[in-house]
Symmetry: C2
Subunit: 437 residues, 2 copies
Amino acid sequence: MNIILLSGGSGKRLWPLSNDVRSKQFIKIFKTGEGVYSSMVQRVYQQIRSVDKDAVITIATAKSQVSSICNQLGSQVNICVEPLRKDTFPAIALACAYLHDVQGVPKEETVVVCPVDPFVETGYFEALKHLDALAESGTANLALMGIEPTYPSEKYGYILPENQETISRVKTFKEKPDKDLARDYIRQGALWNGGVFAFRLNYLLEKVHEQTGFADYAALLKNYASLPKISFDYAVAEKEERISVMRFCGPWKDLGTWNTLTEVMTEQVVGKGILNETCKNVHILNELDVPVLCMGLNNVVVSASPEGILVSDKEQSSYIKPFVDQFCQQIRFAEKSWGSFRVMDAGETSLTIKVTLNPGHRMNYHSHERRDEVWTIILGEGRAIIDGVWQDVFPGCVITVPAGCCHALLARTELQAIEVQTGKDIRIDDKKKYPFP
Amino acid sequence: MNIILLSGGSGKRLWPLSNDVRSKQFIKIFKTGEGVYSSMVQRVYQQIRSVDKDAVITIATAKSQVSSICNQLGSQVNICVEPLRKDTFPAIALACAYLHDVQGVPKEETVVVCPVDPFVETGYFEALKHLDALAESGTANLALMGIEPTYPSEKYGYILPENQETISRVKTFKEKPDKDLARDYIRQGALWNGGVFAFRLNYLLEKVHEQTGFADYAALLKNYASLPKISFDYAVAEKEERISVMRFCGPWKDLGTWNTLTEVMTEQVVGKGILNETCKNVHILNELDVPVLCMGLNNVVVSASPEGILVSDKEQSSYIKPFVDQFCQQIRFAEKSWGSFRVMDAGETSLTIKVTLNPGHRMNYHSHERRDEVWTIILGEGRAIIDGVWQDVFPGCVITVPAGCCHALLARTELQAIEVQTGKDIRIDDKKKYPFP
């Protein structure tokens, strides 16, 4: 199976665990062992591998997510990077061209496109194999998955099938309705549109050529800014006549809010936290290294990270976005391909950061124009390079990096350093990268 | 007026803003200007000065509170330090001997003893002057303040006066009752015992001599460990026959729990925080530099500090102690006489701290046996001394301090440094102090 996972989304709704560089799919909430948690991306990737160990998995995403994906899935994963954010049609177009031109997938092969973050069981991915076979069979140009609604949701688009069979032609699509209309659709046998499609690669590449004029990956990439900002539903699905929908009635959840996310948590407390005996339906997600104590609360989620602290009634948590928009502080935590960093103190003319490099990884060789930096190694072993000169580093080592000086750290074991930046104009974009000498 | 303020208490009930080295009286919650807050100690000290600018104020306390007191009240304040924690009788005995032997207060003068942390208006301190005058008048050996109860509290001891006059002889004392008994006492005209006493210095010093065999400050200090652990009520008040009580009916509150503390807060949010429009009777006290967002909460207090995060129903917050007892992490924030420190990261073999020195202050000249330290100056100007050698410091300066090396920082302006400690056995008690060379 060739599968394209669409990894999009901004991080407002699950603040403070998500932020502009960490979307919800990267939050580690699923317990996989003692003190070990995995994210939605990791869970989905694992689930696909468990139903099809040879699946060719490609993640279509923006540049801002590449570090997190490499950090969580390893650098071997195929990533098709959008130069900028458009909508699902350009993203799928680019990913399909990438599959053919870069990965060498023949045009006759089928492709399944699916969001990266559904909360599902492996049965869902078994169903994707059936959907793939449906596209393969040639009885339709486009095969969709329709999810049996469990309530009259206003959050999803609906697909009206012609009949109630497992596989049916699509009669029509309906936009997100209000509750009454949703009830009406459901009475008519409508299904939720979960954004899952299967088709032959050449089918889609022809559509792309028709609509954009571009036929290959290089051209699409180069001209990406000029592509229309349009969804796959509008650009392709709603115009297609030979289109079928396959009914899926297993568990499926979209974990977009704290309310839905906490419903699927297997533990009430992730991280350091205590709920007293009078707490009911309370969840703690704490990424700080100090404890959270909850007493006498009902239906509340408490979430703490280096970005801030949310304490919300679960129902209310879906209205979080405008409040988070007010916070304009810099990012305090980010996963990088080489590890992670955490801002510990931000002054007007200084910034103190804890840098963690994963074993065998290295940061880019880079310099800053307007700040000096000091590294003090606190854990592990590795090497530092300063203006072309290598040195071994270990706990207690101090490395001073004046402005203009090229520098990088390499980790032999896990390596942690406290980085103190000083300067009058400390900015994240004051960074020049160089090849390692 | 000679006044002894008893400053005791541990920090469990107002966790995480209080801890083992910061009792509740040092938490800054009373707004005194734009972004400026004062603590209960500062408020009481100010109130006393406003009713009696010449008052001789002495704070009787434990060693662990001296730094906070000096930090908040300045180093000019008189402090009588107990060598170890006993009960109110030994503490008052030592403080009275200190007043006479160290401060030179004549034995014929009167003294008022009062807790350091009542939440009151200045009328309370005017009343103390009347109490002082009552002791001065000689109509009784001991004058107490009795507070008009506003509800049948189980938290306070009660004083039963002989009559309902403003000043009356004391009939008897009653221990903390249950609610029914409290109602019964109140029907009999009982008053709360707020722990306020006035007497002539020689009266108390004689009692001390009788009960301990010691007559002066030096002897009491030297033999403090052998003094009985007994309250002033048991040791003196309940045995005294010539004892009067003065009725006080102004506002008086004991801010011992989050519930009572938040009742007197003039603002709902102290620190960075947002309450959405569906929050009712919610208070945020946030000492972190990231925001707290509360949504859809009722009767909840959220308190965040470098020690941890409390989210509690206000009623429930009074049951906090056993939960806080479970947390056995090291102190994360402390005020020192010279400024403050905050732990930012604690590893097994490293500790990263932000050190802030107030202008004109300096830390002790000291060394550590089992850890190396690195200071990176991030703000301000001052000097460092390392093994007897002075150097100027400013932002960006790095000072390495190997184990065994004597070191200190002096602040000309406010001075901030990031201190990274590395070593296999980092302990707070690994510290030797030396005189400055």
